[in-house]
């Protein structure tokens, strides 16, 4: 037991004092989150830009609640310059310009984007009808329509990017950590030295496992912490903490991948190359960087064979899609299956010594 504790401590100290390792396991993935989180901040919540020329009582006199609703779909800019406004529409910079002349509401719309202009025309038409009804004294219409966008949260990029990039970070950290520890400890004869001490092999492996899980937990804390900042605006589901078991199962799966890479290579350079070859393409093909919904069917099927796919999709399910813990169970099972098989391969390839 003391062996396990002191080896874990030695390993953790070695890691946290290694600036390069710290950068690549924690800061580097976080940079991606900050970069993409900032870049795609407004993606998904696409409003239609229109211009309002002069006073338009139909719009201006909307009740507060209706105005807020309108604000969700239209971004209205007021202007007094009619010619300039029409010119902007003509160039396609704005979807439409509205003006009211007496009892007539005129919509000047651009042909550049048929969908957007149809949206604007529809909305304006409903405004006109509403105000006509109000003028006719009908205060409680027989049927009212309330529009609510479906899966509004998941449209925001930060929602799928946080679990995706976090899964990639965990995979990279666990793979590189295990591979490099194994190779450098073999190369520096630390494994040989440990073999000559009475410490059980289980303590050595246990120490690596616990340090990797601790690093993964640190990555999660940093990622979720940053994504929750108002600027990025991550919204976690009620059962978000249910990602912890799947995170641990994923760490174990990638640990064993790293052990295979470390057992198969003689130098740290070779181990890094193998680890990169495995984790980087897998990140692209597993939906860690972008959703696979639009990918070809065969690719989606291939992705099922990647542990990262199971890690990322389960983390997305519980962290942001509001699914319950039970949904992650099959993925946890698959990840542990990967662990068992790959750990057996690593044990088969394992050597205490170079020679």
């Amino acid at each position: 037991m003391t062996g396990f504790v002191s080896l874990s401590t030695a390993m953790a100290r070695g890691f946290f004092r290694d600036r390069t390792a710290l950068f690549f396991t924690i800061l580097f993935p976080l940079m991606f989150l900050v970069l993409f989180g900032g870049l795609f901040k407004d993606a998904g919540a696409s409003k239609t830009d229109i211009l309002q020329i002069g006073a338009v009582p139909v719009v201006d006199q909307l009740p507060a609640e209706a105005a807020a609703g309108l604000d969700q779909v239209l971004s209205v800019t007021r202007t007094a310059d009619r010619a300039a406004a029409l010119d902007e529409v003509r160039r396609g910079d704005k979807a439409a310009a509205i003006e009211q002349v007496g009892g007539e509401l005129i919509v000047h719309y651009s042909a550049a984007d048929a969908v957007k202009s149809a949206t604007v025309r529809g909305i304006v038409e409903s405004l006109v009808q509403q105000s006509n009804l109000a003028a006719a004294g009908v205060t409680t219409p027989a049927v009212t329509m309330r529009s609510q966008p479906v899966e509004d949260q998941s449209l925001k990029a930060i929602q799928y990017m946080t679990p995706g990039l976090l899964g990639w970070a965990i995979a990279t950290g666990a793979t590189f950590g295990a591979a490099l520890t194994l190779v450098t400890w073999r190369q520096k004869k630390i494994l040989r030295r440990l073999r000559l001490s009475p410490v059980p092999v289980a303590s050595i492996i246990g120490a690596r496992v616990s340090v990797s899980i601790a690093i993964a937990a640190a990555q999660c804390a940093m990622f979720i912490g940053v994504a929750l900042l108002p600027y990025f605006g991550l919204k976690l589901s009620d059962q978000w903490w249910a990602f912890i078991p799947v995170m641990i199962a994923g760490t174990l799966a990638f640990l064993s991948i790293g052990l295979v890479a470390g057992a198969a290579s003689k130098t740290p350079e070779a181990a890094s190359a193998i680890a990169n070859l495995i984790t980087l393409p897998m990140a692209f093909l597993s939906g860690a960087f972008f959703p696979l919904d639009g990918a070809p069917k065969w690719l989606q099927q291939v992705s099922e064979f990647f542990p990262l796919k199971h890690l990322v999709s389960s983390m997305q399910d519980v962290m942001v899609r509001g699914e319950s813990f039970a949904v992650t169970l099959p993925d946890i099972g698959i990840l542990l299956g990967f662990t068992v098989v790959l750990a057996a391969v690593a044990a088969f390839l394992f050597r205490w010594d170079d020679a």
Binding site: G3, T184, R192, S197, V199
Partner: protein, 303 residues
């Protein structure tokens, strides 16, 4: 009743990684408390022999027993009783000297305070807060010996502990090693330095090409060689002619710097030189292990 069986018993050990055999039929015993040296040039098979004794390699044939037990396969009963210093110093990355020795000590259940005492024994208490990457070669070797000893083993294996050190650092380390031996531990050391073996070991085994050529206390090996003693004085102190007349059967040579007289009975020659007041620049050199090696192999010793 003290157990009188040897601490180490090695019988007919063989190991090959292809031709020729790295170790080819090696046998010897090491008694409790003995300082035993395996001496030989690089590639003689010293390290392979040592690794089989430590239980790091499986012999192709032959047996090793330490305290009556086999070290292969990994024998957890034996491991706490032996301490091993590896040829390349095996340290955890980015840990300080203190953290290194505490980590190793705790693998054996030795408390931190006890581990720290070992830093003082090898004279590293001032370096305790330094990372091993910042230690000099000699300091690293001393730390690695301290790490091998922190759990108080009865038997210590040292593989070329002074290789690559400057003369001063070597001598400092010799003092440490003498202390370890004086505490009653059995020490096995490999070295390619003849003077080191001669100075430290109670008994040495001279190895070459995977075999032990001869073993015994260094002084005995040298004495048994029956090599002549070489007496040198400054050239011009005495003529070669006169030197030859000092006693019977003298071999005299003069290289222009020193006049050297080789004899198996140095005492009368020395007193005769003293009588003539011809001792300017006197040096007397007996045979060394180098001569033993030359005699055994017919070639000059090259480490």
């Amino acid at each position: 009743m003290q157990d009188m069986s040897p601490t180490i018993k090695v019988e007919e050990l063989r190991k090959s990684y292809g031709e020729p055999r790295a170790v080819d039929g090696v046998s010897f015993d090491v008694q409790t408390g003995e300082f035993f040296g395996i001496l030989g040039p690089n590639g003689a098979g010293k390290t392979t022999t040592l690794e089989m004794m430590e239980g790091l390699r499986k012999p192709d044939s032959g047996t090793v027993t330490l305290f009556g037990e086999s070290p292969w396969p990994r024998n957890p009963r034996l491991l706490p009783r032996i301490g091993v210093q590896l040829q390349a110093s095996a340290f955890f990355e980015r840990l300080t000297a203190r953290e290194q020795i505490r980590t190793f000590a705790s693998l054996y259940g030795v408390p931190a305070r006890k581990a720290d005492e070992w830093l003082a024994v090898v004279g590293l208490e001032d370096m305790a807060g330094k990372r091993n990457e910042d230690l000099s070669g000699g300091q690293q070797q001393r730390l690695s010996i301290a790490c091998a000893l922190a759990h108080g083993p009865d038997l210590v294996f040292l593989d070329e502990p002074t290789s690559g050190l400057d003369p001063q650092a070597r001598r400092n380390l010799w003092d440490v090693l003498r202390d370890i031996s004086a505490q009653g531990r059995t020490v096995v050391l490999t070295t390619h330095y003849l003077d080191e073996a001669e100075s430290l070991c109670d008994r040495v085994a001279i190895m070459d090409h995977g075999r032990i050529l001869q073993s015994g206390p260094p002084a005995t090996l040298v004495r048994d060689l029956d090599a002549p003693t070489r007496i040198s004085v400054e050239t011009g102190t005495i003529t070669a002619e006169a030197a030859r007349g000092l006693a019977d059967g003298l071999e005299v040579s003069d290289d222009g710097v020193s006049l050297t007289i080789a004899t198996r009975t140095p005492a009368p020659v020395l007193s005769a030189l003293a009588e003539r007041d011809a001792l300017r620049g006197l040096s007397v050199r007996g045979a060394t292990l180098e001569d033993v090696f030359l005699h055994l192999t017919g070639r000059e010793y090259r480490a």
